[in-house]
């Protein structure tokens, strides 16, 4: 069960239209290492997670990632709304707006559509948490890559916030891996033993 909150996790101010930036933000939202992939990966991993504390980490970070999807969606909308036809064409975003107007749509900066194949759920507890640590670092690198091309302070601030959250999540998943190893040792959980 989820409850919606009519607010953003981080405030977004007045953003100037910038279709080129929207194209890069698309990667952070709907790319292979984007927020949508992260959220669904963590939430799906919960069902084979034997350790309750780590299931909590997956639930809570997976939920926070959903709020990141929303935050990036709002930034995306503001970058595309009121953009001139010319600037949209120049940025290669005319097709996007023709198809989706200024709504977000999960695809990356090259136009590759988001695919469920991005979801990194093996159902193996150790493999999954280790995957998540790498996923957080790849997402962090993605934010830094996009920030390099960003000159609007109203966009930089939320992107820096989101970059920082990747670092915190990496830290928590690292701790979760230790908690999980201890748990599996104590309760003799062997995920490969199935009858």
């Amino acid at each position: 069960m989820w409850i919606y909150e009519k607010k953003l996790i981080y405030p977004v101010g007045d953003i100037r239209p910038n279709p080129r930036m929207a194209k890069l933000i698309a990667m952070l939202l709907g790319g292979a290492n984007g927020e949508l992939t992260a959220s669904l990966t963590y939430l799906n991993q919960r069902y084979c997670m034997p350790c309750p504390a780590v299931a909590a980490v997956l639930t809570d970070i997976g939920t926070e990632e959903l709020s990141h999807v929303e935050l990036l969606s709002v930034i995306m909308k503001k970058l595309l709304a009121d953009a001139s036809t010319e600037s949209l064409r120049e940025a290669g975003m005319d097709g996007w707006v023709a198809d989706h107007n200024c709504c977000p749509f999960p695809q990356d900066q090259e136009g590759y559509k988001w695919t469920a194949a991005y979801i990194g759920t093996t159902g193996d507890p150790i493999a999954d948490i280790t995957n998540n640590m790498a996923a957080e670092q790849k997402a962090r690198a993605g934010y830094e890559g996009v920030l390099r091309f960003c000159d609007d302070p109203q966009v930089i601030a939320p992107l820096q916030f989101l970059r920082q959250r990747e670092i915190v999540h990496y830290q928590r998943f690292g701790e979760a891996l230790n908690v999980l190893n201890e748990y599996m040792e104590r309760y003799q959980v062997c995920p490969v033993t199935r009858k």
Binding site: Y10, V12, I61, S73, V168, H169, R172
Partner: protein
């Protein structure tokens, strides 16, 4: 008007009755603290100082949200915010609207409640 919410823990925050945008800012800050402490507690469940902070901020968040909801309309759906007078969920602006948090609701939609 300012009200001291807690005097027994590291959280020395106060609630300041201000404009809609200011109140939402306070909610966002308080809730962010709770998200971060929540994640920390997931992997450090025996940290009593973090737990105390969590409980303090949780009480503070509830008070802030209550104040906001009574003055400006619901933040949550599905029964987690009351909607006095009319169904206000459909009235208040959504986070992706340009005027989000910039204008208070019309007078008839707003009945101010003091702490």
């Amino acid at each position: 008007m300012t009200k001291q919410v807690h005097d027994h823990c590291t959280c020395s925050e106060t609630i300041t009755v201000g404009k809609k945008q200011h109140l939402m800012q306070q909610i966002a800050e308080c809730e962010f603290m709770l998200i971060d402490i929540n994640l920390f507690l997931d992997t450090h469940p025996d940290d009593t100082r973090a737990l105390d902070d969590y409980n303090c901020y949780a009480e503070q968040l509830a008070a802030l949200k209550d104040l906001y909801v009574k003055n400006y309309g619901p933040i949550h759906n599905f029964g987690n915010s009351v909607s006095k007078g009319s169904w206000r969920w459909v009235k208040a602006d959504w986070p992706w609207h340009n005027d989000h948090m910039s204008e208070p609701m019309s007078k008839e939609d707003t009945h101010h409640v003091d702490l």
